[in-house]
């Protein structure tokens, strides 16, 4: 009897883990079936090369490049903020700061990642944009710049925490050897520690990029809803995620072509992030065990 119970419990536990596999399958299946239905009506070539995205207008055009462009624009701005800040913070906390200081500052910085993203959207729209407009009069009310900047601050802890972990995993002997040669802390940090921890740092940056690409509420609130094939950060743009929100909020009838566009856009988003996540996973498995 006890054996049957043991087996039953193990079976239940296996089912629990299988749910995660079913989730992945479900995502792929849902996106794929609707995307295939979408491509029955829209040419694949137009989708990947067209520079106009107007599925909700009378004259429908289905080129996804403007949405991809908007997504890359906000992501680049965010990474341009988060990478230098996050990496510098990681180096500072690991090489310079007192342990007690690190113990206080690290959780405080992690609050940045715990704040709901709709709050950042509010902040970007009602504070950062008017603030920037006092320097840049051309800045429109909705723009990629303030959304990207705020998103950059949000993902600082992703880069700083993971990079700090990577730096901390570097054996002490390397640092001591550098000091022994008369290096300053700065030289030790950039010529010894960062190169030694590079795989972990790269992983943190890739994960941050993936996070920025999938980020929705900041851009939906502050970056606008105008798909444009431009890299000008001062104008209103639209990202893939914002488009999905825009369609979900509207009265688009189910099973229509307009409705299916959110699945094809979602598929593009999923593929981007899936590739990035797997690259980071691969780097982690392959390079991170060198010092163990």
């Amino acid at each position: 009897m006890a054996k049957v119970k043991e087996k039953a419990i193990e079976g239940f536990l296996i089912c629990c883990s299988l749910i995660t596999v079913l989730t992945t399958l479900g995502i792929i299946l849902v996106l794929a079936t609707e995307t295939i239905a979408f491509f029955r009506e829209v040419s694949v070539i137009e989708f990947f090369t067209g520079t106009e995205w107007t599925p909700l207008f009378a004259n429908k055009k289905f080129g996804i490049l403007p949405l991809v462009c908007g997504t890359l624009l906000t992501t680049s701005i965010a990474i341009a903020v988060a990478l230098p800040l996050g990496l510098t913070i990681a180096i500072y906390l690991n090489e310079y700061a007192h342990q007690k200081f690190t113990a206080i500052v690290k959780p405080l910085l992690e609050i940045l990642a715990a704040v709901p993203t709709v709050v950042y959207g509010f902040f970007a729209l009602t504070f950062v944009t008017p603030f920037l407009q006092s320097f840049i009069p051309d800045l429109s009310g909705f723009n990629a710049l303030s959304a990207g900047l705020v998103m950059g601050v949000m993902i600082i802890p992703y880069i700083s925490s993971l990079s700090e972990d990577a730096l901390r995993a570097v054996p002490k002997s390397l640092r001591e050897a550098a000091y022994g040669m008369g290096s300053t802390k700065l030289q030790t940090a950039f010529r010894v520690m960062v190169p030694a921890a590079s795989s972990g740092i790269v992983v943190s940056v890739i994960l941050a990029i993936s996070r920025a690409i999938g980020e929705t509420m900041i851009v939906a609130v502050a970056a606008g809803q105008e798909p444009k094939f431009t890299f000008n950060p001062l104008t209103s743009i639209e990202t893939i995620t914002t488009y999905i929100v825009q369609v979900s909020m509207g009265d688009v009838p189910q099973n229509s072509l307009e409705y299916r566009t959110i699945f094809s856009a979602g598929m593009a988003l999923f593929i981007f992030t899936f590739l990035l996540n797997n690259i980071s996973f691969f780097i982690k498995k392959k390079f991170q065990q060198r010092y163990e």
Partner: protein
Amino acid sequence: MSRSQINKIKNLAFKFFAIGCTSVGLIVLLVLLYVVISQGFSRIDSDFITNLPSRMASKSGIYTALLGMVWILILTVCISFPVGVGAGIYLEEYGKKNRFANFIEVNISNLAGVPSIIYGILGLELFGRFLGFGNSILTGSLTLSLLILPLIIVSTREAIKAVPKSLREASYGLGATKWQTVWNVVLPSAFGGIMTGLILAVSRAIGETAPLIVIGALVYVPFAPTSPLDEFTVLPIQIFNWVTRPQAGFVTNAAAAIIILLTFTFMMNGIAVIIRNRFNKKTKF
């Protein structure tokens, strides 16, 4: 100036630059809190908490959003907690070295990186349309449960991993079966870590907006939900709705609702930290 002096100056310059960088994040956080509190704090009163949403900003309240949040919170915990902990136990205690467990591990780290809005698309099709739950609380909680499942599994595994082997061996030595060992020895020791992970995951869930918009959580719900199959709204969606309106009064409302939302988020994170610290002190193996 000698080379070593130049290097020392560079070193000092970097130190100040780094302190500046560290402050940037914290300053932004402070400015954000100041902006929100200065705009919204005076708006919070008992009417704001108990009023239904309205077309007039000054009469709108967050009653339905708060109730929706409580419903979502309870259902999401009920669904995701047993499944997440179960999967964590399986991966850490049962299928440690086999290929199936390895595959699931890769899969979970992948799921953790899937954008939340994609979960919304899955929920819309699978729970909303295929299972026919529509845009109900049930669809919302199922969707959010899938979203936070990877977080719960990972924190459960970490907590279980921290339980020393000697405890398990002592239990086996007394003749306990595998499950008896897990239930009576491993889980009680790992409880603090598991709860910390659960609270952090739930705090993430109550701040999520995008997946709930995609499944069609209504923006205007004139009644309080009474069953899991009712339509609903939650605080983040109410905030999003108010932010996107042009009238100034709604921006004030949004700021006030943000104060309430942030209070919940910070409280949960605080509780998680307290549990973690207390647990770390109590159990020294």
